[in-house]
């Protein structure tokens, strides 16, 4: 069972054995065969000359030499795994593109597939000409170069980022996991604690908010409570080990773990410490939540606990009855995921899924659930519970309180319908 060099800890061994035992029981002696196909999977033409007992052609000649790719790209056989860009938008300067969640494993989003939301395009910024200004209610207003920022003590943390409108409450609902919640990604971020930078200027009494501004053509502006700025907020210059991509705010962005994406100001150029929020257009007319009564909730920062099954999920197909691992992701802006429950009988019964360790705060958590599909129509879904005890609600529960004019913070459970032919589709569409 154990791979050579695999470190066997007791908990891991126990859960692994339990997984195998349960998996075997669920399989009920069925032959493990076939699997899962994506609708966009490469329909490779199988050449029998490359199959046993023959020696495949790629073993009969040397491959590409060293240096044929100075910056590596995925295999050409994976070229269908790309960002999910909505078609026929009226314009693409203020728009968003989604991560293909259903095609990814683990919890880290590759930088090239990280979701994007821009309000006026992606600026091309020369880091040598980029400055961060820190002013307002501080003892000493300061200007930093990027070299300055990188001189501060650094830290790296893994956190998710999620757009507040992911998805909307009104139909039509999307077909795939990416269509539904693809404005979500997770990365290891490196930068400096915002608290250290604020202390460098010295906060004055009355400092309650920090107004952050981007150096894009929208000069996007949001106000952040000082408590968050002095807690886990970061100024980030690297993502998954390399410098930020332009789409993610190169050369500098704000990271507010657990807060809605648009507040994590990209291309960060200015921080103004203030006694009050600035009441920018984004935090009054845009990222506010309209209730059925006509009132609107403002300063709704946190992304609440949420999960989705990514495999099998909408647009995929189960090729055969038998064993299929159900796998998905869970996350909460309020901290760690405590538990994920999975139902395979249209929500009548729920069972606890396995969580991939380590479970990190305000990061994606991968969950898995062994399942034997009997070939009958089924509805599968997942439900996240975070460390505050909050339970991910159903769409009906959300709509009953918020109505469908509420554009943001939709963290509904999203069930997938599996038809007798194995086709997976959105059960709420």
């Amino acid at each position: 069972m154990t791979e050579p060099g695999d470190v066997e800890d007791d908990a891991g061994a126990t859960s692994r054995r339990r997984f195998l035992r349960e998996g075997a029981a669920l399989m009920g002696g069925a032959v493990l065969a076939g699997g899962l196909a994506g609708s966009e999977a490469v329909a490779a033409t199988v050449n029998a000359n490359n199959l046993p007992p023959n020696v495949p052609e790629w073993m009969k000649a040397p491959g590409d030499p060293m240096g044929s790719q100075l910056y590596g790209t995925p295999s050409p056989f994976e070229n269908s795994v790309v960002k999910n860009i909505p078609k026929n938008l009226p314009q693409y300067l203020s728009a968003s593109g989604r991560t293909p969640l259903q095609d990814l494993d683990g919890i880290i989003t590759p930088n090239g597939l990280f979701y994007e939301r821009h309000h006026a395009g992606v600026p091309a910024i020369d880091p040598a000409q980029h400055r961060l200004m820190l002013h307002g209610l501080v003892d000493k207003p300061l200007i930093f170069t990027m070299d300055d920022i990188r001189r501060f003590p650094s830290e790296s943390r893994i956190h998710f980022l999620e757009c507040s409108g992911n998805p909307e409450y009104k139909k039509p609902y999307g077909k795939t996991a990416s269509d539904l919640v693809g404005l979500l990604s997770c990365a290891e971020w490196t930068g400096v604690s915002l608290k250290l930078v604020l202390q460098e200027a010295g906060l004055q009494p009355g400092a309650k908010w920090v107004v952050a501004e981007g150096a894009d053509a929208a000069a996007l502006t949001r106000s952040i409570p000082i408590e968050k700025c002095l807690d886990d907020a970061m100024l980030v210059y690297s993502q998954n080990g390399e410098r930020l991509r332009p789409q993610q705010g190169y050369p500098l962005r704000l990271l507010l773990p657990g807060f809605e994406g648009n507040m994590n100001i990209k291309w960060l150029r200015r921080l103004r410490v203030a006694a009050e929020p600035t009441y920018s257009r984004e935090e009054t007319s845009k990222y506010t939540d309209l209730m059925p009564t006509g009132s609107a909730r403002e300063f709704t920062f946190y992304m609440e606990a949420k999960s989705i099954i990514t495999r099998p999920s909408g647009g995929q197909r189960l090729n055969t009855p038998g064993f299929h691992e159900i796998s998905g992701i869970a996350w909460s802006g309020h901290g760690k995921i405590k538990r994920v429950d999975v139902s395979v009988d249209d929500g009548r019964n729920w069972q606890e899924a396995q969580l991939q360790e380590p479970v990190l705060t305000r990061a994606l958590t991968r969950f898995r659930f062994p399942w034997h599909w009997d070939g009958q129509p089924a509805v599968i879904q997942s439900r996240a519970i975070d460390e505050t005890g909050y339970v991910q609600p159903t769409l009906a529960e959300l709509l009953a309180v918020r109505g469908d004019n509420y554009d943001y913070h939709n963290n509904a459970i999203w069930p997938w319908r599996i038809a007798a032919d194995g086709e997976v589709s959105n059960a709420l569409a």
Binding site: R281, Q392, D404
Partner: protein, 187 residues
């Protein structure tokens, strides 16, 4: 050696004093002072009270000209929307199945209009309008929404005094607001 002891004590005291004063100033000594002129050039924030609005003014009639040239292509000739947001109308629709959010129906504070237009509009050339043009086009959009007479002139004082119809409709964040009973079996 008393003198040597004294020297070491003084050195230690100096080091401590320097460290303490550096601590109070800036722990890492990174960055340089931002000058008032630099801050003034970059700080274009206008808050809900109109603080930091610049001098200058603009009329509704001049705003119509600016709007026709700079805004109408995306927002429609009368602010009815197009590639850009609908800017006019929608009052009374927010509690209906088809709410129409515009400057007139939804925006809680008028100075935000100046702030946003100056920093981000027109989309093809943000921060290109003069302050006078921004006042004027703000005045015109308010006029289209019935919030400013056609002969009005807008400046820092008059813009700050505009009371937007939807101002009182914003509330704080009451979440968690939705409870899932966490049923496990026979649900």
């Amino acid at each position: 050696m008393p003198s040597r002891k004294l020297y070491l004590a003084a050195l230690a005291a100096f080091a401590l004093a320097s460290a303490t004063s550096a601590q109070a100033q800036s722990p890492y000594g990174i960055g340089r002072a931002a000058t008032p002129a630099e801050i003034a050039g970059w700080n274009i924030d206008v808050d809900r009270y109109g603080n930091n609005l610049p001098p200058g003014s603009g009329t509704v009639s001049h705003g119509r000209e600016v709007f026709d040239q700079q805004c109408a292509a995306c927002h429609g000739a009368k602010g009815e929307g197009g590639l850009g947001d609908k800017l006019v109308g929608g009052q009374g629709t927010l509690a209906t199945p088809k709410p129409v959010k515009t400057v007139g129906s939804y925006w809680p504070y008028a100075p935000t209009l100046f702030d946003y237009i100056r920093r981000a509009m027109p989309q093809s050339a943000p921060q290109s309008l003069s302050n006078e043009d921004v006042y004027a086009v703000s005045a015109y959009i308010l006029n289209l929404n019935g919030l400013m007479p056609a002969d009005a002139t807008l400046d820092a004082k008059t813009l700050s005094a505009v009371k937007m119809p939807n101002r009182s409709m914003f509330v704080g964040d009451p979440r968690p607001d939705v409870k899932n009973p966490e049923c496990m079996t026979g649900c």
